[in-house]
Symmetry: C2
Subunit: 673 residues, 2 copies
């Protein structure tokens, strides 16, 4: 690679890009860790994008109508941090760059949403950023459909690497973006032909241009070090009327002795290599030093969008107060004031009517009252709309000719759906929820974990949540999936017992600003167990006494979801034998753990034997409830699953696997001795 030709061809561009490359080398040298090659390879593309196209204002990083920039190849985090520092982002100071990857710094190893403004999403697990971006672009379309170009009109730009494109989820994203002609989504593919194991050819020889084209994308191929070609390609992409992929032929670790090698992918910390690379760049400054005039040029880029922003703010101020209020509320993840009263009214009605319905149907009943008062909800399903009960009549289906439609047919793409929902939540102004079968949370896991890590309130509507789904058999019967969600930090797992608890769970999920929710819902019908109306949201306490013992309290049955019915039946049998039995409904273990110790002790006093009932594995958080955190609280047992399910009607399976009132009674008696 003839670096000197690049330097002389466009020295102004070159020095800006060189600043990114030098900061990258210095930060990774200091951290003795990181990924040098990608920022060194993509600095030219990023420089042109930020200088000529990206609509942003470094002084107002959260301005809703900014263009979004997503570094899907998150290991190249120093590219993003360099850009943020250079353009004047207030979070990413030079001090933070010096503290790259250290405890407490804002410059986390991979870009993390919430650590610094300007980081639009957490990336690093490959394929996530490009899939988030589909959600960003859909959110933009939906909001533009509703509020008009006056308030919403921006692009989503992505840098993706070979790894992102090899991950299967990228295909889901590509298919969705192509299907919906998301014309404001522009992806730069860092086509450097290098991965950790060596040349990309070792593992893949896909013609990426053909692949994107097959899904309806506009594609271009350019020299990723030629600023004019980059600029021209972006101009063309904006005009394409389709999602656009720009294949940027680049050299990883450009200008260093590790250029074009897999060594160049990782941390380049050798001092001679660094010195030689800086020489090649004509970079004569000290470590972490950016000359003032160059910094000023970059800061001018960071300030370029201030006028756009001011004009946008004026436009926002010009719309009706009501619309402004709504717009601000939805971007603050607030709920409408009347949500609480709406949920209460539904609860009252249900407690009187006491229907027997599956909780997936309960969820639909709740959505039918929520969606009309929350224009920001966007629902969907991974091709199980009729089974997940996620579509309500008022939503409209998102499509090329119906951009304000609020329902997405995601196709058989659980992972892409979850990642795109995260993108919608991150974009703001949208409250996404989406459904699949609980067993297929497996497919969505990487994105569900990131929702928790990013602290965004994505709602996962997971139906058919146990062997209760019946004949489809063990491939479709979740056994460990509730446990998996509970094991994930910062996740609320709701397993409601009836429509009332489902309504309460939805209220909590929508009021959550920083925690995703998993709604674990049944296929099979369940009776209403909360037939006495309470205005209070009892699910907010996580667990509560649903039925008190008569006489001396000798046993406590703790159950969730579909097994609360069994617990109540077991209580009847036990009481008939004179064994005083309390039933605790535990729709959300995480919220129960958050309650004051005194409350928890009141619900689960030491002494009586305890039996947990859940058609899932015991490992899912049960033991601490049953035995007490420090042990010695109670003698305890568990009625649930210890192996995979089987193919048969639901009723047969409950019998065969021994999840019955009779088995519960037997367990209680065994423990009472």
């Amino acid at each position: 690679m003839d670096i000197s030709a690049l330097r002389t061809a466009n020295p102004e561009h070159w020095s800006k890009a060189a600043a990114i490359r030098a900061l990258t080398l210095d930060a990774i040298h200091a951290a003795n860790s990181g990924h040098s090659g990608m920022p060194m390879g993509m600095a030219d593309v990023a420089t042109v994008l930020f200088e000529k196209h990206l609509k942003f204002d470094a002084a107002a990083p959260y301005w809703p109508d900014r263009d979004r920039f997503i570094l899907s190849a998150g290991h190249g985090s120093m590219l993003l941090y360099s850009l943020l520092y250079l353009t004047g982002n207030e979070d990413i100071t030079l001090e933070e760059i010096r503290n790259f990857r250290q405890w407490g710094s804002k410059t986390a190893g991979h870009p993390e949403y919430g650590h610094a403004s300007g980081v639009e999403t957490t990336t690093g697990p490959l394929g996530q950023g490009i899939s988030n971006a589909v959600g960003f672009a859909m959110a933009e379309e939906i909001l533009r459909g509703r509020y008009g170009k006056k308030l919403v009109d921006h692009y989503t730009y992505v840098i993706a690497g070979d790894g992102c494109l090899m991950e299967g989820v990228s295909q889901e994203a590509i298919g969705l973006a192509g299907r919906h002609q998301l014309s404001k989504l522009i992806v730069f593919w860092d086509n450097n032909n290098i991965t950790i194991d060596g040349s990309v050819d070792l593992a893949d020889r896909t013609d990426q241009l053909q692949r994107f084209k097959a899904s309806g994308w506009h594609v271009q191929e350019i020299d990723g070090h030629d600023p004019k070609a980059i600029d021209d390609a972006i101009v063309a992409a904006k005009k394409a009327g389709k999602p656009s992929m720009i294949a940027c032929k680049t050299h990883i670790a450009l200008g260093s002795s590790a250029q074009d090698t897999s060594k160049g992918h990782g941390a380049l910390t050798d001092e001679k290599l660094i010195a030689d690379a800086k020489d090649a760049y004509g970079w004569t400054y000290g470590p972490f030093e950016v000359p003032a005039d160059l910094k000023a040029q970059w800061e001018a880029i960071g300030a370029r969008g201030a006028a756009d922003r001011a004009e946008w703010e004026a436009r926002l101020a010009s719309v009706s107060d009501r619309k402004q209020e709504e717009f601000n509320r939805i971007f603050e993840r607030g709920v409408p004031k009347r949500l609480s009263a709406t949920i209460r009214a539904l609860k009252k009605q249900i407690s009187e009517e006491a229907p027997k319905v599956a909780t997936r149907k309960s969820s639909e009943m709740v959505l039918e009252v929520i969606n009309p008062i929350m224009p920001e909800t966007v629902g969907g399903s991974a091709d199980l709309t009729g089974s997940n009960n996620t579509l309500t009549g008022d939503m409209g289906v998102f499509d090329i000719d119906n951009r304000s439609g609020r329902y997405i047919h995601w196709g058989v793409r659980e992972h892409g759906m979850a990642a795109a929902m995260n993108g919608m939540a991150l974009h703001g102004g949208v409250r996404p929820y989406g459904g699949t079968f609980m067993a297929f949370t497996d497919y969505a896991r990487p994105a569900m974990r990131l929702a928790a890590l990013m602290k965004i309130p994505t709602v996962f509507v997971m139906t058919h949540d146990s062997i209760g789904l019946g004949e489809d058999g063990p491939t479709h019967q979740p056994v460990e999936h509730v446990a998996i969600s509970r094991a994930t930090p910062n996740t609320m797992v709701f397993r409601p017992a009836d429509t009332i608890e489902t309504a309460e769970a939805w209220e909590l999920a929508l009021n959550s600003k920083e925690t995703p929710s998993v709604l674990s819902l049944t296929r099979q019908g369940l009776p209403t167990v909360r037939t006495k109306h309470t205005t209070k949201n009892l699910t907010a306490q996580g667990g509560y006494v649903l039925a008190e013992a008569e006489g001396k309290r000798r046993a406590i049955l703790i159950a969730t979801g579909s097994e609360v019915e069994i617990a109540l039946a077991a209580r009847d049998l036990l009481q008939a034998e004179g064994i005083g039995t309390r039933v605790v409904s535990m729709p959300c273990m995480e919220l129960f753990a958050d309650q004051a110790a005194a409350y928890r002790k009141r619900v689960l006093p030491a002494g009586p034997v305890r039996v947990g009932i859940e058609a899932g594995v015991r490992i899912g958080g049960w033991d601490r409830l049953l035995l007490g955190e420090r042990g010695r609280e109670a003698k305890a047992g568990f009625i649930g699953m210890s192996d995979f399910g089987a193919s048969a009607p639901a009723g047969v399976l409950y019998e065969k696997f021994g999840i019955t009132a009779e088995a519960t009674v037997a367990k209680v008696k065994e423990l009472l001795g």
Copy 2:
């Protein structure tokens, strides 16, 4: 659709295919559950494939050199069951067809490996079958490379639906198959343009032919109801020299009033619909009735391969005894006799040398002695070869010009890797293992679960298994992943403390015939804690006393993997204060749970306080160990993670998150009161 034209054009073919369609309608009617449309749509393709091409012998369903038939669109299970019944498979009797989807039947809701011969893999979760198939085809290539065409020379056929192709993992499979020119892999795409939510167009408009072509596949497009076109396409596919995709334009629920509708995807149980469809087929027989002459025609198809098989058996008998023995052994998942002595010798050497190494490196040391004596191992990594330490010098890299190479560069495709490894294990003759970072088990989850459900001994080498990976931060730091694997039934999760335990874990993983293993390995160096050689495999007991208390036993520390070192240091501190402390190493909780109660009680006697130490979440099976299954055994505490990690060097993270000897000592003292 003019059914009568199809009937008259080729009546012999038609009646065979009609038998599949009629059995499908009858079985689903009886079960009142299932998926009718796909078998009705693909009966013609399947009939031609079985009649004219598939090399199989219904009387010997496990013959190693048979062609494999994989129903990736597993919801169409009645297609497979019909074919097995008709061709004379001994497991799938008419009685089993009548008991479709019922308790104890071999006709599970979705095809399940192990329930009936002729079911090559468990499908239903979409995209898995086509990805398994890549492993089947690779295994065939590898074994053909080693044993020659004489012993190994067969095709892998797949039927995949729109759902399979929308799942991201299909792209990983397509990319791999194209990259390696797996010319004996032939995929039929059931191109019926219908999914559950409606027309495929709702969610996807990808040009599938272009997409496959972009990854190097041979593609064809045919009328999936024209037997001649189907036959011709298979002939052409076999000659293509590349993996081949045949797009079969079909009508879902052909000939019924639900044809070409999403209703046709599900269970067609309406009696009039069924009667009308049978009328259209010219099918005049009673429910579950197949006329004898037609059954005989099908059975002749089932017997067609008997001669091929006999010739193959003669060829096997003609090779050296040593080769025959090895061939039989590897297909029975047996290990070579000298494995045990080899592992023991390594253990002895290591206990003397007592190196300080990361357990990922320990794993490599073990593989260096295993791979030379087990020609059936096939290793690989999802683009982290140097980090997962999965490649040993003797393996050779699998490639187009090195078919007997035993190492696969899977690319950044954790899910595709796991699914293809399952395919290899199912094919037989290969013992697959593959690596990625523990945090990215998330991506591989659906396939890891299926390995457990199918009872196949795939080995997942998961390195960088805690915050100990350091600067890459929380996106890359597993916290809940060990718990997730432990929550999955039929999975052995090994978290070895040093090289000795790693060797023992590998020995157990390789000796396992029906349980997959997850090896949870560190990035960071660990001391050898087993410095006294034992010939016995202590890891086989799951947990064991590593260091006994001196004096009165007042505390038991239970630790796994990298935290055993911390437990030993805490013991030193506690003993110095006169607090008698036992350390239990617990490399595999599942195996510990399998031990006799007396042994478990000996290791964990009631009385002393217990503290568990693991750099992960407590939910992962800890409570029962700490508190006893029925409670009341001990006062207990846990030192571990309760939230996501952070970006910083590993040592700093252990300090900041309080996973230290000092914190352990404090916890013990707190519990002692």
